[in-house]
């Protein structure tokens, strides 16, 4: 991993005084490689390396640790700063149901995450309503209905749509069922499909969700920045959920998405079961990405 690589680079280090510019450049080349291999976006890596290089220059080598360890500490601290503080709380509405809308690219895990989020909320004594606003994907409504049934939770759906209408109608249904949270499952879409992006905007205008969270796949590569930035630009995104973290992807997409949107990653999907859902730990993610 990165520790061993850096130890090798600094094996011949004399161990005194400042980290020289050459020490730092050698170390940073290694860090850059590690971050790119971890799928952090190359632009995010560039500005990250510039910042940590600046922070490292002239730093006195701490007598008790090796320069490799020192560079790693500087890098890790910067990554944890970039990933931000843990922010897993949910602001609930003081009047009427709290509306949470899940959006994202095709196949990222939105429908499954709706069910996980619902389960998480029931554990916290809430009464969520699941809304099947994806009428485009074959059997998407059925998928959410099955998940709702497994959780013994209500699911609102309509045969015809369109999705903005389904979402608007779900509010009445939530009132009838005494639901205090409404979770909107939307169809996967490309950030460059303006028609479908406009559909999300229309849902937002009609229903005014309190929370719009991007559901993103942890194995996404360089493209994470493009899609996240576009969703963030076109909609008032206020959170991110990273899925499939039970895989062995280093998850550099987490850093890219945080860097480009500034929005907190609130939860992690860690499996296919409805209980495979946990609060996101930025510090754990930082060390996973570094490898």
């Amino acid at each position: 991993g990165i520790s061993e690589n850096l130890q090798n680079i600094f094996r011949k280090f004399s161990g005194r005084g400042h980290l020289t510019e050459k020490n730092i450049r050698d170390g940073m080349r290694e860090v850059r490689m590690a971050l790119l291999q971890a799928d952090v976006n190359f632009k995010v890596v560039k500005s990250f390396i510039d910042r940590v290089t600046e922070k490292s220059v002239g730093q006195d080598v701490i007598k008790s640790i090796t320069p490799a360890q020192q560079i790693i500490k500087i890098v890790q601290d910067e990554m944890i700063t970039l990933m931000g503080q843990s922010d897993t709380g949910i602001d609930f509405s003081s009047s009427g149901p709290t509306i949470i809308m899940l959006i994202g690219l095709q196949g990222s895990g939105k429908t499954t995450t709706c069910a996980k989020l619902a389960k998480y909320l029931t554990k916290k004594s809430h009464h969520p309503l699941l809304v099947a606003a994806d009428i485009q994907r074959p059997a998407a409504v059925e998928q959410l209905k099955i998940l709702g049934k497994q959780l013994d939770l209500p699911v609102y759906s309509e045969a015809l749509g369109p999705p903005p209408r389904i979402c608007a109608q779900s509010l009445k249904f939530a009132a009838e069922k005494n639901c205090d949270v409404i979770i909107l499952d939307t169809a996967g879409r490309l950030h460059i499909d303006q028609e479908l992006m406009n559909e999300l905007k229309e849902i937002n205008q009609k229903v005014k969700p309190h929370h719009i969270w991007l559901v993103a796949d942890a194995m996404t590569g360089q493209d994470a920045v493009k899609s996240a930035a576009e969703f963030d630009t076109q909609l008032p995104l206020n959170g991110v959920i990273l899925t499939k973290l039970d895989g062995d992807s280093r998850g550099g997409a987490a850093l890219s998405i945080k860097a480009v949107t500034g929005k907190p990653i609130k939860f992690a999907g860690i499996g296919e079961k409805v209980t495979d859902f946990e609060e996101f730990h930025p510090d754990r993610m930082a060390s996973r990405i570094l490898g």
Binding site: M33, G107, Q136, P138, G221, D223, K244, D248
Partner: protein, 278 residues
């Protein structure tokens, strides 16, 4: 991009960024840049315009080394096993293949061997209905191997041209699920000689370096004969398939360009490489 520039460190860095942003990965990008430097030193490249052409030609040549045509059985049915991690586009890609074969006036049978995920069977059934092909399905929770067995029997009995087997998304890190995939393949092999004739790993074009590990691990569970690169209609370039070709020699056979049944193209190395630098 290269107008008025000379072949210097700056240019090479710019090119490396193009390769990396296409998800080619550090190792592959570095190697390509090194080859470029050697070619320059050997006098093969004198002008900046030649650099991109040289790069493109190298990539195109490499990608064409493997055959991207589908492996067909000498006697029907040709059995195609579809596998991949969660959400990459397997079920939708099967619909596209079924539609393609249907257009070629071939008889197609689908096997709904994802008996695990909510509404997975329903999803494939909607497609089989829309396209007008038959499907073999059991109850949710049934043994995927049993579905594959029944489908293979039906494929022989009904004398179909293609049997396409859908499987549940699975992370390669889950040993028991990978074992299940091997078992499904063995069931097909036992029932139909030479099956599966084609095992396609469906990759999401937005996936980064993990795609290489996916290809490696899936290839160990069931020899992967080809890649189906889905979601190439997005902004991701799918350059990871270059690294997969270099390390595992697995060719791309099809690309997915959308969510409809005709959003499929056979892999064209020239088109793909040109798009990398577009």
């Amino acid at each position: 991009l290269l107008k008025g520039k000379k072949i210097d460190e700056d240019l090479l860095n710019q090119l490396e960024e193009i390769l990396i942003s296409a998800d080619m990965g550090v190792e592959t990008s570095l190697k390509i840049i090194e080859d470029l430097k050697s070619a320059y030193k050997e006098g093969k490249l004198t002008g900046v315009e030649q650099v991109i052409d040289y790069l493109k030609l190298e990539l195109k040549t490499s990608l064409k080394e493997t055959k991207s045509a589908l492996n067909l059985s000498t006697t029907p049915p040709t059995v195609i096993l579809i596998a991949g991690v969660n959400g990459t586009g397997k079920t939708t890609s099967i619909a596209k293949l079924a539609y393609l074969f249907q257009q070629e006036k071939k008889k197609v049978l689908l096997a709904a061997s994802d008996t695990f995920r909510a509404a997975a069977i329903d999803q494939l059934a909607v497609w089989s209905d829309r396209i007008g092909v038959e499907i073999v399905r059991h109850q949710p929770g049934a043994d995927p191997g049993a579905v594959a067995f029944d489908a293979a029997e039906a494929a022989l009995a009904r004398q179909v041209d293609y049997l396409i087997v859908d499987t549940a998304g699975r992370l390669h890190t889950k040993t028991n699920l990978m074992k299940e995939l091997t078992k499904i393949k063995n069931v097909l092999a036992k029932k139909i000689p030479g099956a599966p004739h084609e095992t396609l790993l469906v990759l999401d074009a937005t996936t980064g370096q993990n795609a290489i590990i996916q290809a490696k691990q899936f290839n160990e569970a069931v020899p992967v004969t080809g890649l189906f690169l889905a979601k190439l209609d997005g902004t991701a370039k799918g350059g990871i398939i270059v690294a997969i070709k270099n390390q595992l020699n697995i060719p791309v056979k099809f690309i997915g360009l959308g969510e409809k049944s005709d959003d499929l193209e056979p892999f064209d190395a020239d088109k793909f490489v040109d798009a990398l630098f577009a």
